[in-house]
């Protein structure tokens, strides 16, 4: 094992290289620029290719094109580029081409604040393109080390599910400096629980089988398989069709290959959840680090508080929120996104509260204060005239 003091951007780069990424195509954007920079340095060393595209949409299209040629590929951006991915993301979802997409969330809307953390793309990551009729896979790291391991995992899932997988990080995770341990031997890799899957090639003639099964190899061009893929609804052989019957079959696979295999994706972390806590905190990404510290502090003070950190954000882990209790959802946005899903999942009679910050992390003291307010049946403390509860 080699120890470094480095950024999440470096961790993501090394994760991709370890997973066998051979092509990176993207466009420089804060705070994901260093992923592109690191890839431009590292890829040629391992026989891979770095392409700087004319915009984010093209970057992802080039990456998806290279994946269509049989190489593992990645692209990385932040919010303003992620919305430009809508087109290639949809194409890769529909054509079922594996690719890893990194989004280092910053403050929005639009260009917002470039060098500060936000969590505004929780829902866009679920619905990254138009047209519906598909499930998506999104993983959210909260540390440099986890940015590394989840990037490896994202490659694994993208190959097994033959679809794009988003690593939804935030500026603090990608730009933040922390200890990063990189495995050097097979044993170390196994010890870290990393999973890998090599690219396979669909030989046809059925390229789009009517099934929810995993491990259907993707269509790959250049092997004379007669592989066909397009933006239109495919028949099982990949021919374009206008028939609703085929759209139904195609959607069945796109939706159910994820829904019926959720266990493969499922990842979460819980702390102090064994004694039916009076307040359950929920957060993902960098605020979850503060949340965990806060819960430990609360326990020291004798408060019955626990916390849940979803790591695989989508498909959403509905069952984690089965307790009838008070929930406090902490996010790096003011509008409240994750909180809506938690509200949807909790049993009737639960109380769901929202505490939002953006561009900076909430402090342990701030969170603790809100917990106490909830325990006392008081409204949350507001730092301004905003109705935090009015999400």
């Amino acid at each position: 094992m080699k120890r470094y003091f480095d950024t999440g951007n470096r961790a993501i780069t090394e994760g991709a290289i370890l997973a066998g990424c051979k092509v990176f195509a993207g466009y420089p954007i804060t705070p994901a620029t260093e992923i592109a920079e690191n890839m431009s340095r590292r890829l040629p060393e391992v026989g891979g290719y770095y392409v700087q595209a004319e915009d984010e949409m093209t970057g992802m299209h080039i990456a998806v094109g290279a994946s269509l040629g049989g190489l593992k590929t990645m692209t990385a951006t932040s919010g303003p580029g992620y919305i430009l991915y809508a087109d290639p993301y949809g194409w890769a979802l529909g054509c079922e081409i594996p690719i890893v997409v990194v989004n280092a969330q910053r403050v929005g809307p639009v260009s917002g604040i470039t060098g500060a953390p936000g969590q505004g793309e929780f829902y866009i990551a679920r619905y990254p393109t138009h047209g519906g009729n598909a499930e998506t896979i999104v993983l959210a790291p909260n540390s440099v080390q986890e940015a590394f391991s989840l990037t490896v995992e994202a490659f694994y899932l993208s190959e097994r599910f033959r679809m794009p997988v988003t690593v939804l990080a935030d500026q603090l995770v990608t730009d933040g400096w922390e200890t990063l341990e990189l495995p050097e031997t097979r044993e170390e890799i196994e010890k870290m629980g990393l999973r890998f899957k090599e690219r396979e090639i669909c030989r046809g003639p059925v390229f789009y089988p009517f099934t929810d099964q995993l491990d259907v190899p993707p269509v790959v061009m250049g092997h004379n398989t007669g592989g066909t893929c397009s933006d239109w609804t495919p028949t099982d052989e990949g021919y374009d069709t206008e028939e609703v019957e085929w759209a139904h079959k195609h959607s069945y696979r796109l939706i159910n290959k994820v829904r019926n295999n959720k266990e493969v994706i499922r990842r979460y972390e819980e702390h102090f959840m064994d004694d039916d806590p009076d307040v359950v905190l929920v957060a993902y990404g960098s605020p979850s680090r503060v949340m965990i510290s806060c819960v430990k502090k609360a326990r020291e003070e004798g408060l019955k508080v626990g916390c849940i950190r979803p790591i695989s954000l989508w498909p959403f882990l509905d069952d984690l929120y089965h307790r009838k209790t008070n929930y406090l959802v902490v996010e790096l946005n003011y509008d409240g996104q994750l909180v809506r899903e938690v509200q949807r999942c909790v049993p009737t009679g639960s109380n769901v509260h929202f505490f939002g910050k953006c561009g900076e992390l909430p402090s342990v003291a701030e969170m603790l204060l809100q917990i106490k307010q909830i325990l006392n049946g008081e409204p949350l403390v507001r730092s301004d005239n905003w109705e935090w509860e009015a999400w």
Partner: protein
Amino acid sequence: MDYLANKYLRPRKIPSTACSGCGLGQVHKKTVKAIDELGLGVEDVVWGTGIGCAGRQTFATWKGDNFAGTHGRVYAIASGLRIALPPDKKIICTVGDGDSFGIGFLNLLHCARRNVDMTVVVCDNLGYMSTGGQYGWTTPLGVKTDSSPYGTYESNFMQEGQDVLNILKDAGATFLARHTSLQGQEAVESIKKAILNKGFSLVHVIYPCVTNFSDRALGTRKPIAMYNWIKERTYGLHDRVPENEMCFRTGIYHDASNTRQEFSARLLEFTREIQRRAR
């Protein structure tokens, strides 16, 4: 089904569902004929398409590998694919005028800049005919379409001094030609040269749309009227054209075939060099 169709195309998709009188099949056939005359097999070509008439009618007609990108994106996808494919595989894309000179123009320009090895055959029906007949970026000035009921007022990419082929030449394309689908072997010869160029080639072929373009612009759906309209306006590159007459200047605009290193070859060489230094 003729010899070419039997050898290279899928019986399931040929004949296509194009309107009767459509000239797209002429462009399609010229492209396949060029492939045949070069002695290439089904396995030598990966066929890309875009959207619209040209994209939809030619998608998955090739017996080998086929892909269709979203609106204007086939050039970007092909650039990525080029990196992954062995150098001897040809990428041939049949696309429309809206796809290439409109929504995909930025990508097209950068493919020319990078000199990505692909042959783009632009099948130009002078506007957006698949969506019912709106003007596009090569629709002649003053022509009536569904979205220009009083005639187009914007200048276009085939006008003197702003020819799209000159723009692509300056961007770095290494083979450029323009023809009409009514022309015969000379167009096939251009496509052959385009395929033989290891670099970015584009052959722009104007073809008649009888159903929509002709109906609005010429007031008739008689194929012969539309065919004659194109034929009367077809000139060679150096022919004298009567003043103020709209024309299609045909011929090879630019042939710098195999003079500049191709994108993926350069990238491969570059990568090998870095790897060698790293060792």
